[in-house]
């Protein structure tokens, strides 16, 4: 059976590089799922949860936006701005980031550029928190997060 040759890279590291059965990810136009032999595709990713299904099981990864490319060779490449496994997310840190962003949102209404920046950062933190909470019971050991998000 055909498999997806999958790469997930961020500017800081390579997060995942394995064979997958299917991949779901959040794009500009909604959640899409990619199966083997997908047509070549380029799409924008939005902050959200990426589910990578392989023979061994599912992996849940939070991405903070980026791009997905399906190339004609059957490779799927995700260029993420930042990404973390669900068990790597620092729940407390993410909650604090949400609080900070909400607070900043009430203060910076004046300048639109700043407003957009804070909104984007809030969205990233919220989706991150969402991913972490949904899979909280799977977290056996609280691995420290690497603090990918900087406000």
């Amino acid at each position: 059976m055909a498999k997806i040759n999958f790469h997930l890279v961020t500017p800081e590291r390579t997060l995942l590089n394995k064979e997958l059965v299917s991949l779901s990810c959040p794009t500009d136009l909604g959640q899409i799922t990619i199966l083997p032999n997908h047509v070549p595709l380029v799409a924008n990713l939005v902050p959200g949860e990426l589910v990578a299904k392989s023979a061994a099981g599912e992996e849940h990864i939070h991405v903070a936006g980026g791009f997905i490319q399906v190339n004609p060779k059957g490779q799927v490449i995700v260029l993420a701005d930042a990404a973390e496994h669900d068990y790597e997310i620092d729940l407390k840190g993410a909650e604090e980031a949400v609080q900070r962003a909400k607070k900043a949102l009430t203060e910076v209404r004046a300048s639109s550029e700043e407003y957009a920046k804070v909104t984007a950062s809030l969205e990233r933190s919220l989706t991150k928190l969402h991913v972490a909470k949904r899979h909280a019971r799977r977290r056996s050991t609280g691995l420290p997060s690497e603090g990918v998000f900087k406000e």
Partner: protein, 294 residues
């Protein structure tokens, strides 16, 4: 004897120098490991991104400000990434020497954008045109630090002032080997054209079944994608030159420490010889005195 005291003083001073160079060697070694790791771990991203854009520009005919070429612009922009400090051997001098390759074409004026203190002082001394100076931080660069630099360059390109934009930086091959390199950042196409010439048949045959589907439309995706790719290329170049800098400095300091050790050995040998001479002379005098008394 005066000679002995001089030698002793020199040994002390060389020992002091060796202490300093050894400390600098250890510091650079620690920084080097970090910088090398960073450069290596961001390589997949930038190479995959570069591959993507080459794949896309080969088949797309979309009019985007960043995909246009400006044939009539008289200037080329050169981003020169150097170190902030010295003690890196010939790293920076080689880098500036590499500029000559770009200056071969007399019709085009090279305008430099310097990143790093050494590039600024070296090129200013040579009387080159410096368009802008983006100071480099001493800590490791984060990708956010690149944004202003990338924006400056792309703005100048989009407003038809630069025909091409190059990056000149030190590529990190290994701890003992770093070489200055030139990459063309913008426009994306010429390199693609050159590549596709070699395997033209493949390209043509693929052209039909090879169309990427875009979600949403291509312009929207590229609008996001192109700046990201430019940023990641610049970021990678900065990381590579950081890794080169610390490796070169580590090697330099190691050489200096070794040389100081050799010098100390030599001096100690001369010191011991002098001391032995002195003892022999004294003994001879004592014996001579004793014989005279008998």
């Amino acid at each position: 004897m005066a000679g002995m005291r001089d030698i002793k003083r020199r040994i002390k001073s060389v020992q002091g120098t060796r202490k300093i160079t050894r400390a600098m060697q250890l510091v650079s070694a620690a920084k080097m490991r970090k910088a090398q790791y960073q450069a290596a771990s961001s390589r997949p991203y930038s190479s995959l991104a570069w591959e993507l854009i080459n794949n896309l520009t080969r088949q797309l005919e979309i009019d985007m400000p960043l995909l246009r070429t400006h044939r009539h612009a008289k200037k080329v922009g050169v981003l020169l990434i150097s170190t902030n400090r010295g003690f890196v051997g010939s790293l920076n001098v080689n880098l500036v020497g590499k500029l000559k390759e770009l200056e071969k074409n007399p019709e085009l004026i090279c305008e430099l954008v310097v990143h790093g203190q050494q590039a600024k002082t070296l090129t200013a001394r040579m009387g080159k045109v410096i368009g802008a100076d983006f100071p480099k931080l001493d800590k490791t660069t984060a990708i956010e630090d690149i944004y202003p630099l990338a924006k400056y360059l792309t703005d100048l390109y989009q407003t038809n002032q630069y025909r091409k934009i190059y990056i000149v930086y030190n590529h990190f091959y290994s701890t003992i080997s770093q070489k200055p390199e030139i990459i063309q950042l913008l426009p994306f196409s010429p390199e693609v054209v050159r590549q596709s010439k070699e395997k033209q048949e493949v390209v043509i045959s693929k052209k039909y079944g090879y169309n990427y589907q875009f979600e949403p439309e291509p312009t929207k995706v590229l609008e996001h994608l192109l700046p990201r790719i430019i940023e990641s290329q610049i970021y990678q170049a900065v990381l590579e030159s950081d890794a080169s800098e610390h490796s070169a400095r580590m090697i330099m300091m190691k050489n200096a420490t070794d040389a100081a050790g050799d010098l100390i050995d030599d001096l100690t040998l001369s010191y011991n010889q002098l001391r032995q001479n002195k003892i022999t002379t004294e003994l001879a005098e004592i014996t001579a005195g004793k014989i005279a008394l008998e």
